[in-house]
């Protein structure tokens, strides 16, 4: 099982947090002020876009100040009654063992304004009367449902860190994992993340896990993606889809074309289906989707696309019968595409040699490139005389000879024989 790098490299200390220096200092000052008795605002409301380090900051701060840290998720405390239990936690500054306590209530966005109204009201009560520092976190503080709560909180905004700051964090991950990464590659990932450090680390892990080196070429083909529904979400919806309809709907959210999406699914299915029967079913579904792709090509009837989608989404989702969804498995970028683009020059060369073979051998250039070129490579590596004879007979240029021999030196010696 993999460890998520977002967890493994979570900042230990607030000095490790990238960006938002002023906001962090404001928060530190407020927490420290509790040592002189409860301040005027007994709760802090941290808000800002996802992945910029709000929760990480609070956790690191508690660690730095050696406070007893209590973290709760607001969506677990939806009712007034539950909040009252929570309120007990915030009723004393000192904990049982003499340390100081810091209470965090995360993801307040999860509460809905109407049905959880009692919840927000109860939280407001906690904020008013807290006997220890209470931190509330949400993406946005200016939602209507928080209007009353805001009055009793110190508002601190977290902004998106700059790309250079995101890079700083990625560099830390690099050295931790022993990966050498081109600066350009990291910059590209950082810029693509648009300040979402968590997604940058996720992207980076998907690209770099298991590698020693990460080059710009490895990442540049990714292009920018829609931040609303990243391909990871789409994959999750398909691979862990519960119903055919929900798995199929994911296609509409993907901002890649069907063929590219197919590659993403094809690459990632194996690691997400541990049970061999499930795996066989899922791969079967993909192979059928591929058959329909072939039928589209030969008939030019694009309406068959709907069957391709059926099998690559719903077919895969319904394959899951025994595999439990457990653990965190990162999604990987389609390795086949990367390898293909690397071998593209290779194939072009093979094909141009195939053209030469075709002129003399009554065989299509395409077939010659697949069936004859491998034999020529063996001959060219082992027998200079025969190689020279064939090179002359096929009228190969020096580049082609060099490709077939696989070394510049030997190619020269063959070319010399050609005169």
């Amino acid at each position: 099982m993999y460890a998520a790098w977002t967890v493994k490299y979570k900042p230990k200390s607030i000095t490790d947090i990238v960006g938002n220096r002023e906001s962090i200092e404001k928060l530190v000052g407020w927490v420290k002020s509790w040592d002189d008795g409860a301040p005027k605002k007994r709760a802090v409301f941290l808000y800002g876009p996802p992945g910029v380090g709000k929760t990480a900051t609070v956790e690191a701060l508690a660690h730095d100040l050696r406070m007893e840290f209590v973290e709760k998720n607001a969506s677990d405390y939806r009712t007034e009654e539950a909040i009252k239990r929570f309120a007990g936690l915030a009723s004393r500054y000192g904990s049982l063992f003499g340390g100081k306590r810091l209470v965090l209530l995360d993801e307040l966005d999860g509460l809905t304004g109407t049905s959880d109204k009692g919840g927000v009201k109860a939280i407001t009560e906690v904020a008013k009367a807290a006997e220890c520092p209470v931190v509330l976190i949400a993406d946005s503080a200016y939602d209507q449902k928080f209007s009353n709560l805001r009055l009793y909180c110190l508002l601190i905004e977290f902004k998106k860190p700059l790309a250079s700051e995101v890079m700083k964090h990625l560099n830390r991950v690099c050295s931790g994992e022993g990966i050498q990464a081109d600066e350009n590659a990291l910059k590209f990932i950082a810029q693509r993340s648009e300040g979402d450090v968590r997604s940058a680390v996720n992207d980076f892990q998907a690209l770099a896990q298991g590698k020693k080196r990460l080059t710009y070429e490895d990442v540049s083909w990714l292009g920018y993606r829609d931040r609303q529904d990243s391909i990871f979400n789409v994959l999750r919806m398909i691979i862990y889809g519960k119903t055919c309809v929900s798995a199929k709907r994911a296609v509409d959210m993907a901002d890649v074309d069907i063929d590219m999406l197919f590659e993403w699914i094809y690459e990632n299915v194996p690691e997400h289906f541990a049970d061999p029967h499930d795996l066989a079913r899922a791969m079967d579904a993909l192979s059928i989707a591929d058959v329909y792709r072939g039928r589209i090509r030969s008939s030019q009837d694009w309406s068959f696309t709907r069957y391709v989608i059926d099998f690559m989404t719903a077919g895969v989702a319904m394959a899951r019968q025994n595999t439990k969804t457990s653990g965190w498995i990162p999604f990987k970028f389609p390795g086949r595409i990367q390898a293909l683009s690397r071998s593209r020059a290779d194939r072009a060369m093979r094909l141009s040699i195939g053209q030469k073979i075709k002129r003399r051998n009554h065989i299509s250039a395409f077939r010659a490139s697949k069936e004859v070129v491998p034999y020529l490579r063996i001959i060219f590596k082992n027998n200079e005389e025969m190689a020279a004879g064939i090179a002359r007979w096929l009228d190969l240029n020096s580049e082609m000879v060099a490709y077939l021999v696989g070394s510049e030196e030997k190619a020269e010696s063959i070319l010399k024989q050609l005169g």
Binding site: E271, L286, S287, D290, G294, I363, A365
Partner: protein, 321 residues
């Protein structure tokens, strides 16, 4: 040893030179005699002499000036409808000067033509029958549309019988002064399955090593697509390492350019040799056959073969129970 490509050097020049496919050759000879050729389909597996027979026929028909009377087009490279509309049509409608009133168009690998192109071709065939006769070479006549099939005389080519295959290679080895052992011939047949073009290429590549050609040499040069690699991949899959097996498959296809059809052929024979419960072998053969057919239809090699690998993972898992 000569330094050109043996497959071309030893290609028969006239119908008399063709050693096998007796019935076909006899019929073709009767065409030459009567100086008339119908539209033909030459169907059969690769390396069985379809193109050779077509070339020999035109040479026997027109003699030394045969080049002026025939055209060879390869549908794998030029498969679109435009080629049929332009190149084929222009050639077909021009009148032939000389004794024989028609020319011959050889359409190689015709089963790779799109169905649109085939529809267009059908009209051209009909309209210009007087001035042009078509010989369509294809691995699978089933992929040629029905209306064209009905206009053509069908010829079914099959693999050379084993003795002919062996005799042919030994004779070539003798002419090239290459020592070819009995096991060497055996190995070539095992690897190439009767495809004579591949067999000759294999022989030449083996000979280029400058050693006597025995089984070891043959397997060493065909090693990349050889039984060893495929065996290893099957084993990897059966121990449950699907990703490892898929990686090996990907390398074979992308790095070494091995054709999917070669891999599936190897897998087919390996499955019957592998240590799998007998009842599973026939189940897997069904999957192999289905995938083989899909590959013929132009499906993605890696995607299809990895579906087969997943079945092997499943088989390995069941066996452990």
């Amino acid at each position: 040893m000569s330094f050109e490509m043996w497959a071309e050097k030893y290609r028969p020049k006239t119908l008399d030179d063709i050693v096998d496919q007796r019935e076909i050759v006899d019929r073709l000879k009767s065409f030459v005699k009567s100086r008339n050729v119908p539209h033909c389909i030459f169907a059969g597996p690769p390396g069985t002499g379809k193109t050779t027979a077509a070339l020999c026929l035109t040479r026997d028909l027109y003699g030394d000036i045969y080049r002026e009377h025939f055209m060879e087009l390869n549908a794998s490279d030029e498969r679109g409808i435009d080629v049929v509309r332009e190149t084929v049509k222009t050639f077909a409608r021009a009148k032939s000067i000389g004794e024989i009133p028609f020319k011959v168009m050889i359409l190689d690998e015709a089963d790779n033509m799109t169905s649109d192109a085939q529809q267009a071709l059908r009209r051209t065939m009909e309209r210009y029958t007087e001035t042009c006769r078509f010989i369509m070479c294809a691995n699978y006549s089933g992929k040629i549309i029905e209306p064209i099939q009905s206009r053509c005389a069908p010829f079914r080519f099959s693999y050379l019988p084993r003795e002919e295959h062996d005799k042919y290679l030994k004779c070539m080895a003798e002419k090239e002064k290459v020592r070819l052992t009995e096991e060497g011939v055996e190995a070539i047949f095992e690897v190439c399955g009767g495809d004579l073009r591949r067999a000759i290429n294999t022989l030449q590549a083996s000979a280029s090593l400058g050693k006597p050609v025995d089984a070891k040499v043959v397997y060493s040069i065909t090693g990349r697509a050889g039984p060893a690699d495929v065996q290893k991949m099957i084993k990897t899959a059966m121990t449950g390492d699907f990703l490892g097996a898929r990686k090996q498959l990907r390398d074979m296809i992308q790095k070494y350019g091995v054709a999917g059809s070669d891999i599936i052929r190897q897998m087919h024979s390996e499955i019957f040799r592998a240590e799998i419960p007998e009842s599973w072998k026939i189940k897997l053969a069904d999957v192999v056959g289905e995938i083989d057919y899909r590959l013929v239809e132009g499906a993605d090699e890696e995607v299809q073969l990895s579906a087969l690998l997943a079945r092997l993972v499943e088989a390995g898992f069941e066996m452990k129970k």
